[in-house]
């Protein structure tokens, strides 16, 4: 039983990470019907932004726990968010907006191009920024006292502080998203645009701004996820966004693409399924097989995804 709860915690931590990234796919899809395959790279940029901020701060290590948690980590998070949002907004402006009225396939291909471009950009040029190490191979992510390596023992179950950070970040972000979408003007404008962009424009909504804010919201969560992954696994690399992005996209589809809460649920379900399957259904080699069997079953019996709208008119 201890093993079950341990794997459940592992799965929730992994799933929270998927969920944080999945929100970005789903928000953008809901508004412009674009599957933004470069979103995994925004997650990667967030991690590198946080790493760069830490380097600029003079690589503080071994600070007291309070300083680490109340100062160093928040500053790193802000650095990551700034980098992610800047890149996401630029990406929207230069790679997607010119193709807004092009056939659907054009922005999709553009997204794949942006993805490769951003990976190579980090690989080749991160090390050229003064003071930054070469990023051609994986870099060790900074240790934050109080999180890296720390853990809480509950019975036979070991809960790592990084898991608490990831799951906590997901809970906070979900609450903020709910407030943002339901209670703010921009949030309501986003809902309106996703329902009918042309009518929303007639009602005086600046659709361009709404689209930019959708990319920005997704980027904020992706940056948080980037830092969370760095803290959990201890390293970052220019290719980290590829598989994570693919899994998060799967989570978004599983939960019902276009639905923010669906992305959260989909991420958690996918993470827990992977962790439990690696323990109970064959060896760990089979975890992805079971995760995708789950996806197929959900799509066969509930094509709109777990929380998707009843009527599917897109995708």
């Amino acid at each position: 039983m201890e093993l079950f709860f341990q794997q459940l915690i592992n799965g929730l931590s992994l799933g929270a990470l998927y969920a944080l990234i999945a929100v970005g796919y789903t928000v953008v899809y809901g508004i412009v019907q674009l599957i933004n395959f470069a979103h995994g790279e925004i997650f990667m940029i967030g991690a590198f932004g946080a790493f760069a901020t830490w380097t600029i701060m003079g690589r503080p290590t071994g600070s007291p726990v309070a300083t680490s948690l109340l100062f160093i980590l928040p500053v790193m998070l802000i650095g990551g968010v700034v980098a992610s949002v800047a890149v996401a907004v630029a990406m929207e402006r230069f790679a997607y907006r010119p193709l807004r009225n092009a056939p659907r396939l054009a922005p999709l291909i553009s997204a794949i191009g942006v993805s490769v471009f951003l990976q190579e950009l980090v690989r080749l040029f991160f090390g050229r920024i003064p003071g930054m190490p070469d990023a051609k191979s994986d870099l060790a992510f900074p240790s934050i006292s109080g999180i890296s390596g720390a853990s809480v023992q509950m019975g036979g179950v070991l809960i790592r502080a990084s898991a608490i950070f990831t799951i906590g970040a997901l809970v906070l972000c979900t609450v903020f998203l709910w407030i943002f979408v339901d209670r703010t003007k921009t949030g309501r404008a986003m809902v309106a645009t996703s329902q009918d962009a042309d009518t929303a424009r007639l009602m005086g909504i600046n659709v361009d701004r709404v689209i930019v804010s959708a990319f920005a919201v997704g980027a904020v969560l992706a940056a948080v996820a980037g830092v969370a992954q760095g803290l959990t696994v201890g390293n970052i690399g220019f290719r980290m966004g590829f598989l994570a992005g693919l899994k998060a996209f799967t989570a978004a589809v599983l939960g019902g693409i276009g639905n923010i809460y669906g992305a959260v649920v989909g991420g958690l379900v996918l993470g827990v399924a992977e962790a439990l399957a690696s323990n109970y259904l064959g060896t760990t080699a089979w975890k992805d097989v079971w995760a995708f069997i789950l996806l197929i079953l959900v799509l066969v019996f509930r094509p709109q995804g777990l929380l998707g709208a009843k009527v599917v008119d897109r995708a």
Binding site: L3, Q6, Q7, N10, G11, S13, L14, L17, S137, D138, A140, S148, G149, S151, L158, R160, S162, Q229, T232, V233, G234, N235, G237, R239, M240, F242, L243, A244, E274, A275, S278, N279, T283, T284, A285, K287, D288
Partner: protein, 401 residues
């Protein structure tokens, strides 16, 4: 390794050397002149520029040393040996061009190289077609000598030999080391790639034969970052060590995450994790790795080589593969003693040199140098390294029995 400037320089060099090759004036040896000595060339194919050039230049200089000694001692009466070193830039395509160039020169009778197994894969066929013997000081990929099916080894190229040990003996050596250290319960993890899977299979067989228990056999995806599910599963079987088949980008974080999850046992791997980057990415004190060969500075047999190398005044150090390259060149020279004795020109002695390699046997810088029926070195010396104080330290050097 992909610096454009180097590539451009390489291309220009290649163009220039092609232009000059057209003027070839060296192949007048044995043309009936009464001068007495004929010329045979030993080529080198190794990375002489780029990130790996420290290793490549060490190979070139060590071969140069062996050739100088042979000429000075008159090892092969009536013949003068020459060196022709070609840059492969650690790239298969460039290596292939270098091999083609060497194969087209009539005096070339043997080649020492390459550094990288991937480059060897494109160099060997070219030299094999020209019947030129090739001896590598550094290729560890077992398929180069044993073919792609480990259960049913067949030698793909009769011209290819090597003086270093291969990956296929690392797993059993690691198993012996752990059993010797009193560790009887080990969990294995590999990354599903040929190198990692091969290591784990060889390790598992030897470890079980030696009386050990494999508590759990798991795999990861090379692209995975979060290994907590695997570690939790492995931890539940309470092993005394984890044997990992794969490379340091995954092994470092795996070791770090294992410690964070409360699995405080050493992680052991092959030469794929024997790298400072492993420690940087999370490898802990106590983690272990095997690597081929012995650290040269500790070898009694290598003393003469090290002294001669210093005396020769090369501007670059002999690096990791110097002693193996010196032995590789001497293996070729030993074979040439037989094949050139009755030959009228170098080119006609090529096949005879390959045949003579099978009988080569002498005491070299790295120990006994001789080859089995696949062309692999009969010496199977390996070293276990341990992370100690944040750096790799040689722990134990030995021979696989």
């Amino acid at each position: 390794m992909n610096k454009p400037a180097f590539k451009l320089a390489g291309v220009m060099l290649a163009v220039a050397s092609l232009a000059f090759a057209g003027c070839g004036t060296r192949t007048d040896a044995g043309a009936g002149g009464g001068s007495g000595t004929k010329v045979a060339t030993i080529g080198v194919i190794a990375p002489l520029s780029g990130d790996l050039s420290a290793l490549g230049l060490g190979i070139r200089n060590s071969v140069d040393l062996a050739i100088q000694q042979a000429n000075k001692n008159g090892t092969i009466p009536g013949w003068t040996l020459k060196l022709d070193a070609q840059d492969d830039q650690a790239t298969p395509d460039v290596g292939k061009n270098a091999a083609t160039k060497l194969a087209s020169e009539d005096t070339v009778v043997g080649v020492v190289g390459t550094l990288n197994s991937s480059v060897a894969q494109s160099v060997i066929p070219v030299l094999n077609a020209a019947n030129i013997v090739q001896v590598s000081p550094a290729n560890t990929n077992p398929t180069l000598t044993q073919g792609t099916d480990p259960a049913n080894p067949t030698r793909p190229y009769p011209n290819y030999f090597r003086t270093c040990t291969t990956d296929s003996v690392q797993g059993p050596f690691a198993a012996q080391y752990l059993l010797g250290a009193g560790i009887k319960k080990v969990a294995t993890i590999h990354d599903k790639k040929a190198y990692g899977q091969g290591l784990v299979e060889a390790f598992t067989k030897a470890f079980k034969d030696g009386g050990g228990t494999i508590t759990d056999a798991e795999t990861i995806n090379p692209d995975d970052k979060d290994f907590s599910a695997v570690i939790t599963k492995v931890k539940a079987t309470s092993p005394d060590a984890v044997y990992y088949g794969g490379e340091y980008p995954q092994a470092g974080p795996l070791s770090k995450q294992a410690a964070a999850a409360g699995l405080n046992v050493p992680v052991m791997g092959g030469d794929g994790i024997y790298d400072p980057k492993f420690i940087e990415l999370g490898g802990r004190d106590g983690d272990l790795a095997t690597s081929v060969g012995a650290p040269v500075d500790t070898l009694e047999s290598a003393k003469a080589f090290v002294e001669a190398y210093k005396a020769a005044g090369f501007s670059e150090p002999y690096a990791a593969y110097g002693a193996y390259s010196y032995d590789a060149a001497n293996a070729i020279i030993n074979a040439l003693k037989v094949s050139l004795a009755s030959a009228s020109d170098a080119k006609s002695a090529r096949q005879a040199t390959i045949t003579a390699m099978a009988d080569v046997s002498f005491d070299g810088a790295t120990g006994k140098v001789a080859f089995d029926k696949f062309g692999d070195s009969v010496s199977r010396v390996l070293t276990v390294y341990k992370v100690d104080g944040g750096a790799w330290k040689a722990e134990k050097t030995g021979e696989l029995k």
